[in-house]
Amino acid sequence: MKLLLAEDDAMLADALTTQLGGAGFEVEHAPNGAVADYLLQKQHFDMAVLDIGLPMMDGLAVLQHVRQTHPTLPVLLLTARDALDDRVAGLQAGADDYVTKPFDFPELLARLQALLRRTQPASASAPFGRLSLDATSRRAVVGGEPLELSGREWTLLELLVNQRDKVVTKEQINQAWSDEGGETGGGNSIEVYIHRLRRKLEDAGLVIRTVRGLGYLLEAQT
């Protein structure tokens, strides 16, 4: 997985290169916007992490330029400025996600992985706990054993897995179900399906937490 890291702070860039390398990325470092822009145009990358405040050419300009030639490249922005302003500007320029400095590396890594999952829906996604999903055949496997899942159960599980460690609201679940064209869920049908999924995931090392008043969150059992 080849990743371009455009960051002008040498200390942060050094640390991130080491950490991302440790997480399995092949990292190319660009110390300024012009180099980042050049590398993005000349070489192939699977994703890019751009700091907004880059010398010579700022991250947003690099992003706008790369969007013209590589519209699907997953790009995560690092921002040290006011979160809201940069968020709006960054998302307008075509960023897929943003992380505010300073950050915990696990959080950055989780965002990058989520971004990869979202932008590159591989037919066989990386396993989560002992669970692996195959989106094309809509099948789930726990430790080699296939799971018996109804259509709605699959949709719900896929949503929870794609948004792992994040809250999935009841609204999002209903939305996903209606996108599938299925019958709309009645009053407490979400609770019923969650209950069924919990039983089926008992051996997967995963736990679906109920978040009061909001929805559900899938995380690895600790």
């Binding site: 702070d9 040498a10 200390m11 942060l12 860039a13 050094d14 640390a15 991130l16 080491t18 950490q19 440790g22 700091d51 405040g53 040290a80 400025r81 006011d82 979160a83 809201l84 302003d85 505010t100 400095k101 300073p102 950050f103 915990d104 590396f105 460690d165 994040k166 809250v167 609201t169 937490r209 978040v211 009061r212 008043g213 909001l214 929805g215 969150l217 995380e219």
Partner: protein, 500 residues
């Protein structure tokens, strides 16, 4: 961190003299003086004309009288018939007085005590007055004397004196003085009447003029009022230049000066914004580097003492980053900040949902059950700066997660409170942690005061919340939760529900 602009809060107290009043004064005062001078001049002219008329009659009377005096030898023959005397004294209110004397002081006929003639000073020898030339002069009726029988004393008189010569060349010629006097009361009455007749229309003219001048000043100053309205009715964030199209030439320079100031302020605001952004960048990026480096170092060593020290460095970097964020938020919440002015309508309920959901993973890591009270999930509209309100709620959740402790519950709640006089949006974050004592509850709103030293707080959280909420005309309240815990309530004015 914040530079307070020295803006004079009130200008009413030191306001100078009103321009309109000054103009009115300068236009009307000279006019009044001129009107008054005109009045005096009129009186003088009127008196002058009245004198001429009187003088003519006096001269005629004195000549007639003189004709009646015929010198006979050494004396005078006075042919003064009773009828003529009656004519002279006909009008009792305006009678003629006369005196014929032969200087020096030899009284011959008439009223003995008429004032002596005042001879013009330029006459070289007053003892030898010009003959047959009338001298007119003013005088008053003497107090003593026989004249008191005929006229009240002290009455103003107009007199004529005529020196005549009689006697032939043979007998030493003698000089005879004929004086005729007439009360000048009439003359003064006439002048006064003319004056009064003139003053009445004149004062109404003055009034009319005042009104016209006042209207003129108002019309002339109306562009100034328009300029003031343009400045007054302005949103504090609206730094666009004033419209100069309608400004008269005299105001042009003032308006241009204001526009120059506005663009300078705009620059300052932009500079401040850039500074906050730059400061954030300059501080956050190295801190991120510091954190990442210590994370790597932590992974690559197993020495427990070194790990403990590295962990402290890491925590310190995290705390510094937090402090930087808080200080920048505080700077943005200051009333001078443009951001504090930038408000729009949004649904507080939705903000609470999104933000709480974002915090759930961190709460789970801290083994805290963070949730939303969904007993009422109707939209709650407020008009506020969303980023700042978001920052307040972030602070409240952050505080609750820090101080409530593992195993506790933190609940976010948003609802419309229609029980108070004005409908309010109520945002609550309650926890089942140890809570605060009443004394602590008093102090935690102060900057850099922390109720406990657990966690990574910098003591700015609630101060920021208070600052932001008060900027939005809301209030913050701390309450005890039974059996233990703390509930922070934010009340903001409720914005009316938008039409569907």
């Amino acid at each position: 961190m914040t530079a307070k602009a020295h803006v004079p809060t009130s200008h009413a107290g030191q306001a100078g003299v009103s321009l309109a009043r000054q103009l009115l004064l300068w236009l009307l005062l000279p006019q009044l003086v001129l009107w008054m001078a005109g009045g005096v001049a009129t009186y003088r002219f009127a008196a002058g004309y009245a004198n001429q008329a009187i003088d003519a009659s006096l001269l005629q009377a004195s000549r007639s009288l003189a004709r009646q005096l015929k010198p006979i030898g050494n004396g005078l023959l006075i042919d003064f018939p009773r009828a003529a005397q009656d004519v002279l004294e006909a009008d009792p209110a305006d009678k003629l007085l006369y005196m014929v004397s032969s200087p020096p002081g030899q009284f011959i006929l008439g009223n003995q005590s008429l004032p002596a003639p005042v001879l013009p000073i330029q006459d070289a020898a007053p003892d030898e007055p010009a003959l047959d030339t009338p001298y007119f002069y003013d005088g008053t009726m003497p107090v003593n004397g026989r004249a008191a029988l005929h006229a009240p004393t002290g009455q103003p008189l107009r007199l004529v004196a005529l020196y005549l010569r009689f006697g032939d060349e043979a007998n030493a010629p003698q000089t005879m003085l004929v004086q005729v006097a007439r009360s000048s009361a009439n003359r003064e009455e006439l002048a006064r009447r003319i004056l009064v007749d003139m003053l009445l229309p004149m004062s109404s003219l003055v009034l009319l003029m005042t009104l016209i001048v006042w209207l003129g000043i108002r019309a002339g100053l109306s562009p100034l009022a328009r300029l003031r309205q343009q400045v007054e009715g302005r949103n504090p964030t609206d730094l666009a230049p004033l419209q100069l199209a309608s400004a008269p030439r005299e105001l042009w320079s003032l308006a241009t000066a204001i526009n120059t100031l506005l663009s300078a302020v705009q620059n300052t605001v932009a500079t401040q914004k850039r500074f906050i952004g730059d400061a954030a960048h300059q501080l956050r990026t190295p801190l991120a580097g510091l954190k990442s480096q210590t994370e790597i170092a932590l992974q690559s060593t197993t020495d427990p003492e070194l790990r403990a020290r590295l962990q402290r460095v890491h925590d310190s970097a995290t705390r510094s980053a937090h402090l930087v964020n808080q200080l920048l938020t505080l700077a943005r919440a200051e009333p001078e900040s443009v951001m504090a002015q930038d408000r729009k309508r949004f649904d507080l309920q939705r903000l609470a949902q999104t933000l709480t959901a974002e915090w759930v993973p961190r709460a789970l890591r801290a083994q805290i059950d963070l949730g939303l009270d969904d007993s009422a999930t109707v939209p709650v509209w407020v008009e506020a700066n969303e980023l700042l309100v978001r920052e307040s709620l972030t602070n409240l959740i952050d505080n609750a997660l820090h101080y409530a402790g593992a195993g506790s519950q933190v609940t976010v709640r948003v609802m419309a409170d229609n029980t108070s006089t004005t409908p309010q949006a109520l945002l609550q974050v309650s926890d089942t942690g140890p809570g605060l004592t009443p004394a602590e509850r008093e102090r935690v709103f102060e900057r850099f005061v922390r109720a406990s030293d657990i966690g990574q707080g910098c003591g700015l959280g609630l101060a920021i919340v208070k600052e932001i909420v008060e900027r939005h005309h809301g209030e913050v309240q701390l309450d005890e939760v039974l059996p233990h815990g703390l509930c922070v309530s934010i009340r903001l004015p409720l914005s009316p529900t938008p039409a569907a």
